[in-house]
Symmetry: D2
Subunit: 342 residues, 4 copies
């Protein structure tokens, strides 16, 4: 049994992590911390967990956390980078669901996140936790940077074509759409139901923090800097991301075969039969990415549609997948769930 | 391992049953039938099941079904009553998720369902599958009538007070609200998203088929005929039922204690702490009924609020719970799932 | 042309008032105030008004407001009571969309609203602005207390029966449901789309501020204290209230005829044909209350279903209706709009 | 007063047309036809119209329709082409909200619509009713082909750049999203709320009927064949289209100024201030197209976001706008409505 701690359990990635961990057969959940909810029962905030845990939120305490084998950070950006070094020094492995360790270049990170990075020395060591790309590195990592939700959907969608150098990678386009849970559980006017329901809009067209993250991964794959236009949109629903990807093919290729081969051994990536449309509801609550690839009208534009549940494969589920890999458990342990449909 | 068959797997109770059965550790799913979808893969209709089953819909065939230990009917009303006798005769146990065996009085059944009952001789034997009421009978039943969704929420909500004879039971009121999945997966204008979303309405105020079902159970408990006004409403959401129940108390009683005691040993009924409001999302995807009880302004009117997922505790989950009881499995086997929140 | 001011234009009742006023043929909108948004363009906050106004939010200034013929308060509770006396003294007529002047008894008001009333001397003069009840008084009022949203739906629904003394009025039940816009435009976790969508729950079962308001009106009608159980619920949609009302009839009466007669001359109350179900979407954006009345199973329990748009007939529309009456304009001026369906 | 007839008034474009026409000051609505609803009151199907019309659906009768000045076809594709010639011959002007007269090339039409065109001789005469492009032609037209919903949003978004020849028009991309009302009021499983709510998906990636319509208009503007990848998606909401458009700029241009100048005199096209994001809710119920234009990261990719209400500017509202132009009425007559927000 792994001893597991969760720092920052009051957001949506936090409660989703708890949903998965309380039923994970190899996990013993030792503590869930929250400064704001310290002392209150987890189930008072998240009544769906009634009957599954009697845990009480505690203050984040390095000493106590050091008893864990692995600690998840489900905190806002900027927290993990302050606490991770101490935990790592005490032999605890760390999975950060926030963005602190996703970018390798501290200068780029500071530009996009607007604060000084507190722990630049770990950026080189941190492993970007996309198992379909970095499985071996994750297995041995002390510190895993769990990918962002949009980057997971977009990167898995572009990956087979970029790896093979088949695209004009200077004009990549990702038109991505996310449910409102992606905006978090903080009180805000913009995501009140009366504002965001029955509404659809793009946002951050001039630049979203997930842009450099996607570009870093794709550029590494391409062995040169790619150029991407990334436009996120807010969907009037709770869970789910769909990314529609557009690019010009440099050459003819059997797209369906390329994708099926690339992901043949991936348990959590599902290439749909030719002509099938991905739907976000087919992954609701499940740690799955479903992808379809098209070449409309037989032209040179390839269209990829990639769907995930932003809280599962886009956050907590992928974090558990990474934990399983790090501790040599079956990769699907605790993640073998059917999406809730309808 | 139980050999299990599902007749009529193309509706919402069907797919929900499949979601639960494909991961049930003691179940071997042998066949899923559908006349309309015969020959097509289950996952083509329900892509959330991709990776969990490679089953193909077949025609309902008594001979093949007779190989099963238990057969679930997730069919429209009027189907099970035609096929059940033959299966029972061959030693197969039957759980009907439709209404064919819910009412003991064939005359009442025919009045409300508008067709002749094909199998009146089984009405007396059929056990009403509300485990919290009939656990012993279910354990030994050959034929279980799985309760309706509204009746589950309403009956569990009134039960402790009716059992103890504490109410004016001639003026019971149940104001119930259901998500649209309760209306089924058949094409219809009324439940198009453009019609039912951003809308709320009562329906069937003059009489809903679940009225005689609720009255039968409560009258049996009361040992005399109770009188109930039951008004269902359609909620602009997918899953969930909330029933607000109103009645006049005949005497003073510690309501919180009464409810906690009555359900103390029930794994799937959760009495909330005093003052807590039930929310349908806390049971979304879970086989749970959460209940709160109030006496507003200290008056003689008791208010009970009861929530379930209409497709789980209100249908497929309760059916699996009944199967577990019938085959002496742990009652929560395959049902130990945390509700999806958010 | 009436000179009109709006104090507190940044909430949902505020923007709804602006939607109606910018197109009202007899209204010249002079100012819209907001402390928080002072100096910014109204259309920057509410882009639906682009092209209809170039107004800028200003600070609430008694001197400037005194130039208006009528001032609407679309402010939180507790604001109008501080500013109204000064405006009235300068000859401005006031319509308060908040609760400051709805209860005649200051002690009751202070108990439910938790603050001291700043202007008790006006409580007796203030007219409760339900035109279907108080049209004459409204016409001559200096100060109108616009009714609450729930009270509008519930009162119009019970009114014909209470007026005629036909009910057991000691056990009235109002099971009411409101869209999330009723909770206002303030940032809050509970009404984030990720929290309130795909969810349904009762709230304030132990006592909601609209309870004494409804009881005051119904008791006045009954000429004695009535007793009401009022349970509000939160609907996963933006606009709309449905109230299902239950009571025991003391005598037989032609319900359909009673309701049709009572509201025969009311432009904004629509009694539906017998057997028709009210739907909130049939009043979305319209200043209409649609009502149906039932006696299920021919018993002695009467069921009334009443629907309004909480922001229109439940707030801004009714306020404009009151203004029309106060200034001797056609009652439907500026309110002649068809509900948006679908 | 114009005598107006509506053929096919039972769909969503039909009821939306009725919503606008019953309050249009220059319109006298003479008849609304429906084969399926013949003989029933319009308000029984669309209760939002109660109080605004007492019309009864009649059979479509050429003789009766010939008394009208103008007839709208809100019918499925394939109906108007059969009835229009006779009406035109009798001097009635026709506005077809379906697709029968949108494509000039009968061969292309038959390929995409799968039936033989019954009236090819009118294709050359029919005017494509996009007022911002064809105002003069519309004014004199006998037969107007009202544009599709997607084509309205996409064409208005690309128009200024295509007109000026500023784009690589061989790789245009339109990622479009529509609310479910765009799928119509026919009973279907795919748009049941339980299927389409809390879900998002692309559809018709391999080719949608609106593709040749958009390409025809843009190619005419460009004076050569443009190439467009058009991917529609289904949004979990009722009304609204957002189109995100992507293309490579061939040269530097002041985009904001270009768009503002092009639409400076257009009452129903609103170019948002630089940096503002279009939201579909800001046009809900209004005959408006709001557009924003971006050049992310200062690269050579232009991003245009264009929003409309698919039932208003994308259908019924634009049809009324065309009628106003055809009969020399103020273009905004009967269309001066503020979007419903929230």
């Amino acid at each position: 049994m792994l001893s597991v701690g969760v720092v920052g359990g009051t957001g949506y990635t936090g409660v989703e992590l708890l949903r998965l961990l309380v039923l994970h057969p190899d996990v013993s959940l030792k503590m869930v911390t929250s400064r704001s909810a310290n002392g209150s029962a987890v189930v008072d905030m998240f009544p769906n967990l009634r009957g599954f845990t009697d845990m009480v939120f505690t203050l984040p305490d390095s000493h106590a956390l050091a008893q864990c084998d692995v600690v998840f950070f489900a905190t806002p950006n900027g927290t993990a980078m302050k606490m991770a070094p101490d935990l790592l020094a005490q032999g605890v492995r760390v999975i950060d669901l926030a963005a602190d360790f996703r970018l390798r270049d501290a200068t780029v990170w500071e530009k996009w996140y607007g604060i000084e990075h507190a722990c630049k020395e770990l950026l080189a060591e941190a492993v970007y936790g996309l198992p379909e790309l970095n499985r071996e590195l994750i297995a041995n990592a002390r510190l895993v940077a769990n990918p962002g939700c949009y980057p997971t959907a977009v990167t898995l969608g572009f990956l087979p074509l970029i790896e093979q150098g088949l695209l004009d990678d200077q004009h990549l386009i990702a038109d991505a759409k996310s449910g409102v849970s992606g905006a978090g559980r903080g009180a805000s006017v913009a995501t009140l139901q009366a504002e965001s329901a029955e509404n659809f809009k793009p946002y951050a067209v001039d630049g979203h923090r997930h842009l450099p993250e996607i570009q870093q991964t794709l550029s590494t794959l391409a062995c040169h800097q790619v150029s991407l236009t990334f436009v996120p949109h807010l969907l009037p629903m709770i869970r789910g991301i769909e990314a529609s990807l557009y690019a010009s093919l440099k050459t003819t290729v059997d797209l369906q075969n390329l994708y099926e081969q690339r992901y043949a051994d991936e348990y959590f990536v599902d290439i749909l039969p030719a002509g099938t449309m991905p739907e976000t509801r087919t992954v609701k609550g499940a740690n799955s990415c479903r992808i379809a690839v098209f070449r409309p009208q037989g032209g040179d534009t390839v269209v990829v549609s990639s769907v995930i549940d932003n809280l599962v494969k886009g956050a907590a589920g992928q974090a558990v997948q990474n934990m399983n890999i790090m501790f040599n458990l079956p990769e699907s342990q605790g993640l073998n769930q059917v999406a809730l449909l309808p």
